[in-house]
Amino acid sequence: MTRDRAAGERPSPGDRSNDEGRAGIRAARVRIAASFAGAGVRGWLHARDLDTGAEIALGADIPVSTGSVHKLCLLVTLFREAAAGRIELARRMDLSADGRTVGRAGLSAMLDAARLSLRDLAYLTVAVSDNAAADVLWDELGLETVNRTMADLGLTRTVAVHKVRDLYAALAEDIGPDSPVDPVVVARLRVLDPAFTNRSTAREMTTLLAALWQGGACPGESGAALRRLLGLQVWPHRLASGFPFDDVRVHGKTGTLPTMRHEVGVVEYPDGGRYAIAVFTRAASTSITLPAADAVIGTAARLAVDALRNAATR
């Protein structure tokens, strides 16, 4: 099955089919907004067809606190440094049992000393959003290198101001002795304010993914290695839940903060269609477990991808 992309590649004003394509995108935006509202969240979304450049945007240029989505910037930097020969991915790090950044998965949850290569730390950082593994990499690269790399790739609004341990220290300080699900407490959390914390926009995240998929961000084997890692993330509840198809590949990196649930990633269809998607959400409910808010990330992403696929076949 091959898709005729020619119509999508040659937009001509006034062309009837192109008008239909635009109408399709408009209709999809309405449905995506309705899905966000129906799940009780505010949503920011950007999706782009990696081959035609066609896009769909909802609040895509508004800065949002990225949380663990920023680990993608960290890893693109790591693999870009490796491609430039400035860092050796197989170099092994001695990780003592003490002083690890807290978390509920991976090295953050493990008890004993370990020795792991930089690329295996990268794997843990993607697979289970391992905070301890990520901070080893942050310490190795430094905030400045990551921010400079993002700027080199044209991402001017994607900025990291702290490593994972400092992010969580600020969160813990704001929560204090109170309940993290108390709306009064949530309202005062600085890590939800993009001016205070690590931030980006939905459009810049798909720009980054496009650069990774098209080889510009991490050339050669190092890019392939990072793309592979993004396909090994274990969480099925967000982006992947919108694509419950055995023949479709989903790559992604999640991010979660109180009331905020995000995922950015790339979805590949067997006919060659490739789409970068960034979905950021903020729920009205402060509950820690909110399956509908997780699932709407997948639903919104699929509605966006369908609109792009449809536009490309017209």
Binding site: Q233, D247, V248
Partner: protein
């Protein structure tokens, strides 16, 4: 002791978790039922139930024995059915079932094909939905069947899987009715009619998933309450129906979907280990009739991309 009779009582109490209700089902007095269960427990030397004030619960030993009791009862049903066939001289009869909507051409070819291959055998053919057919295959009321997948596989063996394409039934005058074929994505925004979900939940969900895989997330799927209502909804133009190629009611047209994206998976099935010569001839005749006359297609080679949440390697 009448072991089978006692096991029937055991099964009823286990199902109802209540002596009174089980006694009603068995149409015997409750004291007599309690006595039988006690007798069975004595005979087996095992306590089958924990009796509480609000009902009864299976003990772990009871749960283990229940599985075997059910197998024994099923065997006895089969034995009695075979004996009845021998008594009535029907041992030369093959009892077969087919699902609805295979189409008259395929069925005619199946009847002729089987008759030619096995002139001595009388074929008793019935139309049965998939849940009923699975039950009757397990009880040996049906020897062989054509089933739709997803079909519970325990205890059954299957012939090769074929795909029956679905198309769209729409009013003759409606939008797109003059086109030779339609794309799934064009169904977005239309009200769709499928079969009642309760009649085959797994197949229903599979069709919805296939719709979204090919770019249509339907806003409304109408649960039809009868074939005439389906026809009426289509005729008024307020909905389109997803059905296999069929003899169309007047005022409607059937159009295939581009690229055959929606199919019902179909195969022959028989109780594992019970594929006598007549069953094998029927299975072969059915496969031949469905491919040559029913328009069913072989299983396409679809790529598979396992995800980490799957846990087992492929």
């Amino acid at each position: 002791m009448d072991l089978l009779g006692h096991l029937r009582c055991f099964r009823a109490v286990a199902e109802k978790r209540h002596f009174g209700r089980a006694a009603e089902v068995l149409r015997i007095a409750q004291p007599s039922l309690s006595q039988r269960i006690r007798r069975l427990e004595r005979e087996l030397g095992v306590t089958l139930f924990d009796r509480g004030p609000r009902g009864v619960e299976l003990t772990p030993a009871g749960a283990l024995l229940l599985t075997q009791a059910e197998e024994l009862l099923e065997c006895s049903t089969r034995l009695l059915a075979t004996a009845a066939d021998l008594r009535s001289g029907r041992a030369g009869t093959l009892r077969a079932a087919v699902p609805p909507d295979l189409g008259p051409a395929a069925l005619a070819a199946l009847l002729t094909g089987f008759e030619a291959a096995s002139p001595g055998t009388r074929l008793e053919l019935r139309e049965l939905p998939v849940d009923a057919v699975v039950r009757e295959l397990a009880q040996s009321i049906v020897d062989v069947a054509v089933v739709r997948h997803p079909c519970p596989a325990s205890g059954l063996a299957f012939g090769p899987v074929l795909h029956q394409p679905l198309g769209v039934l729409l009013a003759s005058g409606s939008r797109c009715a003059d086109r030779p074929e339609l794309a799934v994505a064009e169904l977005t925004g239309r009200r769709l009619v499928l079969f009642p979900r309760a009649s085959a939940p797994a197949l229903y969900d599979e069709v919805i998933t296939a719709l979204s895989r090919h770019g249509c997330t339907p806003e409304a799927v109408v649960d039809p309450s009868g074939p005439d209502i389906v026809g009426a909804l289509v005729l008024t133009g307020s909905a389109v129906a997803l059905v296999p190629r069929t003899v169309v009611p007047s005022g409607t047209v059937w159009r295939p979907l581009t690229g055959t994206p929606l199919t019902w998976r179909t195969s022959t099935a028989w109780p594992a280990g019970h594929d006598g010569p007549a069953v094998r001839l029927f299975a072969r005749a059915a496969h031949q009739a469905l491919t040559a006359h029913g328009g069913l297609l072989p299983d396409p080679d679809r790529p598979l991309f396992p995800r980490p949440a799957m846990e087992f390697p492929l």
